[in-house]
Symmetry: D2
Subunit: 190 residues, 4 copies
């Protein structure tokens, strides 16, 4: 899905290329229960909702402005599997069914609590974390080491073509780290 | 899907991050008819087949060694929507139903013919092309300009974490250009 | 040298990281005669002038606004080895001594003429070309192939840290191709 | 200077593009006293030595195999300004003159001690650190914050052209973070 399809405002949005890779690394399955933590404009929730036939996405977001955009985008795309949870994580997890998958795009400085909270709800939850800030990356790596978790880690640096006077110039996007870990046994045929 | 889930041999494979972005840019729809041109190991065909409920993927590949891997991978993942077409493109298109979507990962020096061939089968086909070689990129840009087609162009440079002596080192992958163009009117709710 | 040390205006400037790599690939020698073609703000001319003891840089630039910036920057840094040539390349080469080195940062659509012009002045000139536009890259590769020249080619994608609310975010710069070719026999001890 | 000009063995070497940017960020001055900490093959020492007229480079390296390569490379390039210091940093600093500049390419797990040691020798030393490992980057950022130092930080991701069957393929290099901080007041004309 194109970034420009979404209503955006000033809320940061996971960019298209990073969104595609992050959703792919979730390994969504039919009937999945996905938490989108720090859902922002809802781009991850909405794009992911198309790949979890019969499942549900809980878009967890505390910021009122982002929630308004999220609601608009959900309506715009008719994304009925996406449910808004207007609370802060990890407290927001309390009333929700256990997740099979979770995407953490924003953690408001509470990354460790969120990760522990997710694993408390389901020790085998599949988690994908995006880190744009180096400090978030550092905290994530420390958490992974402390908990003996080996993650699949990649960094994505995209650039996008822009036509200017008949020339294609590539514009650099901001690099983002994508870490994925946990989840049920998976692989060929699963 | 992880790269290591596929049987590979020496056949080049679209890498995981590029695969995710390329499939996302296809904007697959339920019932889609997807041509995977230069299907190689079949990683695109197989991962895409999970997102086109009721549709079909034609994995077009001329190389016998690649075809053998493709067959193994199809069986491994139980990807029943993937059909092997052991011919060279664009001749291979002749006996197939018109595509709604096409991915061109390899063109064997016949990129222009392949693009014309796809549009002949369906003028509104959605096409995604990967270009790793600068010469392929140049030919693609020339074709787009000649045919007055404006493409969505991005370049992806991923790196992957590797743990060595307790340190995470990032290993650079080869950059790939991804161009997407054509397709039915699309956007919110479509 | 830092980008912010230069007076800039709206004239495009070779960015610091690309400038460092481009100058390094010139393999400047004491007494070098360097042409800086499409000198813009003069950042290459000025930084390079510090590495060619006793040599001269001819900063060739046709745009009056850029020339004014160039003059200001030359004065600011006391770069006496830099001489302004307010003409268009390759015509500007006519009255100048033969170059031992040349940097082509801008070619105003006349890349091939410029490259031929440089080699006419000195068949063994060391040339470094920057290409931000894909079309420029394509023309460069075509020229290299036509003339049987094998170049050292690299692409640079830098990102720069920015501190925001106590977090380091990396901002992607635009990728640039750097090609280097020709020059006297060089290597260890030369 | 090209990577292939150096004798290498299995000792890791700062790659050409990263070397050029790192040396540029050192802002070397005539008569500089440069410490190259974890000098490895000596590529930084040797290339930098050409830019510090009348100055000296102390190539500090504890590994015997690397020292042997360093000695070979120094001889090969006739780099008389480079002096080998076969000890471990920061102890190696004890007998040396105070540095005006320092490059830290390898720290053997003792990054903080090395940085403190450098500033003890000269509180205004200009320091450039390379970090390939995310853990090294994390420790560097923590040290900078603890000491109230604001650094110029960039990440470099280069790729290099390789010709295969008439096509130019770009091969991704490993990304490296380059941080620069400290140093005398500098800028235009200095």
């Amino acid at each position: 899905m194109r970034d420009q399809w979404f209503v955006r405002g000033r809320t940061p949005m996971t960019k298209e290329e990073v969104r595609a890779v992050s959703i792919a690394k979730l390994d969504l399955t039919p009937g999945a229960v996905l938490y989108d933590v720090g859902a922002g404009t809802g781009s991850i929730s909405i794009e992911a909702s198309r790949q979890l036939a019969g499942g549900t996405v809980y878009a967890i977001e505390r910021d009122p402005e982002a929630l308004s955009l999220l609601e608009q985008n959900r309506a715009r795309f008719g994304a009925e599997a996406v449910r808004l949870v207007p609370e802060e994580a990890p407290e927001a997890f309390a009333g929700l069914p256990a997740p099979t998958h979770a995407f953490v795009g924003g953690s408001g400085g509470r990354l460790e609590e969120i990760l522990y909270g997710l694993r408390e709800k389901n020790p085998r939850v599949r988690i994908v974390v995006n880190a744009a800030a180096l400090e978030t990356l550092g905290r994530l790596l420390a958490w992974l080491e402390k908990n003996g978790v080996e993650a699949d880690l990649c960094a994505l640096q995209a650039s996008r073509g822009r036509v200017l006077g008949g020339y294609h110039l590539m514009e650099g996007m901001n690099p983002v780290y994508v870490a994925a870990f946990g989840g049920e046994e998976r692989g060929p045929g699963l």
